[in-house]
């Protein structure tokens, strides 16, 4: 049996949920949620939450900036949208939902990828103009984590709405085209050294990788033109393509080629 990434990834996703829930059990390992948290005393802040709050309040808090930079550097090193593929609980929900709706034979259509950049732009400009951190109010990530932390279930209707839209209208539309956190990390991931590498000699052209990929556009330059790495920031580094590839044409790279 060969090595697979997905069990590790699923474990990480579940550990994140367990960490968010851990204060309920009286543990003092993790505090807060994915907007801002404290893991073993180290302050972590979602850089997008930092940007929104700083633009909205027009006040710079240095410790806040420090925690946001820590996270930014971390995700730069490990691939940007790695946050989406490995950490985000909403990605886990939409991923499982996608698997279910494909099994049931629902929507195959999907929207274009470039939308996250625009929602990032809208989020930041509305935060600046209106003086409220726009995405933190609407964020299904915040809503999901507060549902876990404080058992406030009602706002989860938004997550349910996302699930319904994804089943009926467009696959993975939230993560692919709408989430500004994904848009932010996509900008970061574009320049990250951790990438999926591709060997055109080994590729048999079976197309399994783009079938399982949630953002299959990112594989196109490699599959069509034989480019040796997936360079798009939209790649979530989930590793599903590497797992599915029979001929081992895909691998994890840790430097630019």
């Amino acid at each position: 049996m060969s090595f697979k990434w997905w069990p590790i990834r699923r474990l990480v996703q579940l550990v994140v949920i367990a960490l968010i829930a851990s204060p309920l059990a009286g543990l003092n390992v993790f505090r807060g949620n994915l907007a801002a948290g404290e893991l073993l005393g180290v302050g972590l802040v979602d850089p997008l939450a930092f940007l929104q709050a700083t633009l909205a309040s027009r006040t710079l808090v240095l410790s806040f900036l420090g925690s946001a930079l820590t996270v930014t550097v971390l995700y730069f090193v490990i691939g940007g949208r790695t946050f989406c593929g490995w950490i985000c609980p909403v990605y886990l929900v939409t991923e499982l939902n996608d698997r279910l709706s494909r099994y049931l034979g629902f929507a195959e259509r999907s929207c274009r990828l470039s939308g996250t950049r625009w929602s990032l732009f809208v989020t930041l400009s509305v935060s600046l103009i209106a003086g409220i951190p726009l995405f933190e109010i609407l964020s299904p990530i915040g809503i999901t984590s507060r549902a876990i932390m404080f058992r406030s279930w009602m706002p989860l209707l938004l997550v349910l709405g996302i699930i319904i839209v994804e089943v009926l209208a467009a696959r993975r539309i939230w993560c692919r085209s709408l989430c500004p956190v994904g848009g932010f990390y996509a900008l970061l991931g574009r320049f990250s050294p951790l990438r999926v590498g591709f060997s055109s000699q080994r590729c048999t052209g079976c197309g399994e990788c783009s079938r399982v990929c949630p953002v299959k556009e990112v594989l196109a330059p490699s599959l069509v033109d034989g480019s040796s790495q997936v360079t798009s920031g939209d790649c979530t580094r989930c590793g599903d393509c590497i797992d599915i590839c029979q001929s081992r044409a895909l691998a994890v790279n840790f430097w630019y080629k």
Binding site: P23, R31, G32, N33, A35, A36, G37, E38, G43, V45, D46, A49, F50, Q52, A53, A56, S57, R58, T59, V61, S63, F64, S67, R112, S114, G115, W118, S119, F121, V122, T123, V126, A130, G131, I132, P133, L134, E136, I137, L138, G142, I143, S145, R146, M149, F150, S152, M154, P155, L157, L178
Partner: protein, 220 residues
């Protein structure tokens, strides 16, 4: 086809769709959601914020709804607002009638705040200004009716500072006195312990938004 394609390989149709229609759709959807959903929070009434909170508008700008203040509160006084709170969804607040703020001397909630929405540098609990207690229902206040209640006064953590008792003649009976609780808004921190302690079914003393300071020309 060739006439439609320029040297970058982007068709006019695709340029219009990606560069104009999609952003426009996102902007309209975002604007629609914002105007319907994001009404001013105080349009829905006063939210009693945790100690050290900035003024409401600046608080809403700075709070990122991480819930660390609520997790830091040893009494679980701080709750996160639910779906009905509009723009204030997920922000911390205190429902004094259920659990007031007991004013921990070290203010763990304010220290837990990463974004500065709660001022972590606040050291002195007597400097906290969450709101101001007000007797809103004078007819139903037992003390004002001439009974010896004064529970709010005795429960006040700043007893004899934030609430004092003003004895005066009871004109209704002619022989008794009325022990009136008087709230001093320059001392009241707005913790809500009085609101929590009020013995009436509906509290006659509640914490409200502090009135704006005004110059006092009538000192005598």
């Amino acid at each position: 086809m060739d006439s439609n394609t320029n040297h970058t390989g982007i068709t006019r149709r695709r340029f219009l769709k990606d560069g104009v229609l999609l952003p426009l759709a996102v902007a309209i959807a975002g604007g629609g959601v914002s105007t319907i959903f994001l009404r001013r929070a105080d349009a829905r009434g006063f939210y009693l914020r945790p100690p050290g909170a900035l003024e409401e508008r600046r608080f809403l700008a700075a709070c990122i709804k991480c819930g660390k203040c609520a997790q830091a509160c040893p009494y679980d006084s701080i709750r996160m607002a639910g779906a009905g709170a509009g723009v204030a969804i997920g922000t911390p607040h205190i429902i004094a009638r259920e659990t007031p703020c007991y004013l921990c001397p070290d203010l763990p909630c304010a220290k837990a705040c990463p974004s500065g929405a709660l001022d972590g540098k606040l050291e002195d609990v007597e400097k906290v200004r969450m709101g101001t207690a007000v007797i809103v229902d004078r007819e139903n206040c037992l003390s004002l009716r001439g009974l010896r209640c004064e529970v709010c006064y005795r429960q006040c953590p700043l007893i004899d500072n934030a609430i004092t008792i003003l004895p005066r003649h009871n004109q209704r009976t002619g022989v008794h006195s009325i022990m009136e609780p008087v709230i001093h808004r320059d001392k009241c921190v707005g913790c809500g312990i009085c609101e929590n302690a009020c013995v009436r079914d509906k509290p006659v003393i509640v914490v409200m938004k502090s009135p704006p300071e005004q110059k006092d020309y009538y000192e005598f």
